[in-house]
Each structure stands twice: as structure tokens, then as C-alpha cells.
Symmetry: C2
Subunit: 171 residues, 2 copies
């Protein structure tokens, strides 16, 4: 396929996944219809079904395309920047979406495997920065806990979370 | 009302909430009908509607009656026992239920307030054991993160979580 055509297809697919992400974050998976996603995307129903056979495929695409933030280093500054990034994304609805993904992943083993893989990626990225496997697991637990609380409480002071991550890093 | 009648009503109500909890944990809120809860409870439809006008009231009752574990002290032993308790409950479906509650609380401000209150109770309980407010917030973040991962990954090694909580406690 010519490169420009593939780029067009990829861009259109990303546009649909973005629309799904917005509606899933606001309404949950069960509360969102394909019609809602069509409306949000500005594309036609036919265009969307050319890319996705149904909502289940879109749920999977949203879970796979997580684009989570990773810390760049284990210094106090880098960790504070990472937590600030998680908080900034939460304000844009990302934490709400993550809460929907976890709930669905807890019920659906195929989604659960996708989410477990993404959590392992974060753990591995942190381990590669110089933590033990165990400390990297703990680091992930703190991040997941912060995101879940942002989803429910709207905003949560990042300072205790940064302190917890630093405590984990220092062992 | 005579005491015995009130006890009977309370027991019946708890029986319905327990049935709802089982089905919500297995099927999510959206995937569970009042009929499912009637079937799970072994009571009649009429009996259930005498206590709850509909599913929304049952969702709220389940969120309010969390019965979360609290740590009894901040020693390594007590924290390990607390984490083991969280893990044991998760194996009984509790972590899956909590994931459903968080997802719903992220979309529904009334439920969000209930969950935020329960998180504050856990934070206050840990603070009362001798932690700073900030460390108590971090403690809660770790617990929430462990529960969320148990929901998705099925089982998760408790050792890194215990280590993270001890790191938070030691500052």
C-alpha cells in the first residue's frame, strides 16, 4: 500500500480511538454506544465500521493504546515531573478512563491480559532506571493508586505520592 | 419497633446487599439486573423491592457497606497481616468489586463522595496510628494500587507492597 494511504488510514483510525476514549471516560464502556462514538468522531457510521466491527474492538484498542507516562529518571525532580504529568492527564479525563479500563479488565480476561502487560511495561521501565524488581512493583502500585484516587476524588495533592515514590526508590 | 423485628429487617437487608455484591463483582454494575440479584439472594422480587427501589440504591448500599480492612499497627508484622487480609479478600472477589466501584464513582459524583469518604476514613485510621497526614495519604495510595492490581492481575506478590508501606511508614 502506498505510504500516504497507510498514513491516512492510521490517522483516521486514531481519530476514532480518540473519540471512543473521550466518550468512554465520560460515560463508561457500558454507557457508551457506537452511535455516541460516531457522533463524537464527526465521521460517518460507515467509516467507523470500516475500522472496527463493534464496541468490543474499540474497547480493546483504547486499552492497548494507553500512552501512559513513564518516569525519565529516579531523581526527586524527575519523579515530581512524572507525577505532575499523571495529574495533568487526569484533569483531561485520563484517570476516569483508566478506572473504566480497570473495571472492565477485572471482568474480561482478554482485557485483563492487555492491562497486565501494560503494567509490566511500566514496571520494566522503572526497573531499567536502576530499581530492584520488587521496588519497581511497589513503584507501579503507588502510581496505580494515585490514578485511581484522581479518578474518584477529582484532584489529589501530589506531594505525598512523590514522597512515597521517593521512599520506595530509597528502599 | 420491637428489637427482634428490626434485627430481622437488618438481616434481610444485609442478605440482599451481599447478593448484590456477589453479582456486581462478577458482572459489573451495568451487567447486573435486579433479576440477577433476586436470583442470587434466593428471596422474592417483592421482598427485594421492599428494601431497595432499584439498582441505583443497591449500588450505593454496596459502596457504603465497604467493610474495608484497616491495619492494626504500623509494625512490619501488622502491615504484612493487613496486606495478607487485602489479598485474601481479593481472592473472594472483593478487589473486582472495588474496581467496579471506582469506575462507577469516577462517573457519578454521589458515589464519588461516598468513596472519597471511605478513603478518608482509611487515611484517618492510619494517621491515628502515628503517621503524618502526608504519609497516611501515601499509605492509602499504595493500598488502592495493590487492590486495583489484584483486580486485574488475579494475584500479585504482596512482598513489594509490604516493603512499600514500610518505606512510607519510615519516611
Amino acid at each position: 500500500m502506498p505510504k500516504v494511504d497507510q498514513e491516512h488510514l492510521d490517522a483516521r483510525r486514531a481519530q476514532i480511538v480518540d473519540a471512543a476514549r473521550v466518550r468512554f471516560a465520560a460515560q463508561g464502556f457500558a454507557g457508551t454506544s457506537m452511535g455516541d462514538i460516531v457522533a463524537e468522531s464527526g465521521l460517518s457510521t460507515g467509516a467507523i465500521y470500516r475500522y472496527f466491527a463493534g464496541k468490543d474492538e474499540l474497547v480493546l484498542a483504547v486499552c492497548e493504546q494507553g500512552a501512559e507516562a513513564f518516569p525519565q529518571a529516579l531523581t526527586a525532580e524527575a519523579i515530581a515531573a512524572f507525577v505532575a504529568d499523571v495529574r495533568r492527564r487526569a484533569a483531561q479525563g485520563h484517570a476516569r478512563l483508566v478506572a473504566q479500563i480497570y473495571a472492565e479488565a477485572a471482568l474480561n480476561p482478554a482485557l485483563g491480559a492487555v492491562v497486565a502487560r501494560r503494567l509490566a511495561e511500566l514496571r520494566d521501565a522503572v526497573e531499567a532506571l536502576g530499581l530492584s524488581r520488587s521496588a519497581a512493583e511497589a513503584f507501579v502500585a503507588v502510581c496505580v493508586g494515585y490514578s485511581a484516587q484522581l479518578a474518584v476524588r477529582g484532584d489529589v495533592d501530589p506531594a505525598p505520592v512523590v514522597a512515597a515514590l521517593l521512599a520506595v526508590v530509597r528502599g
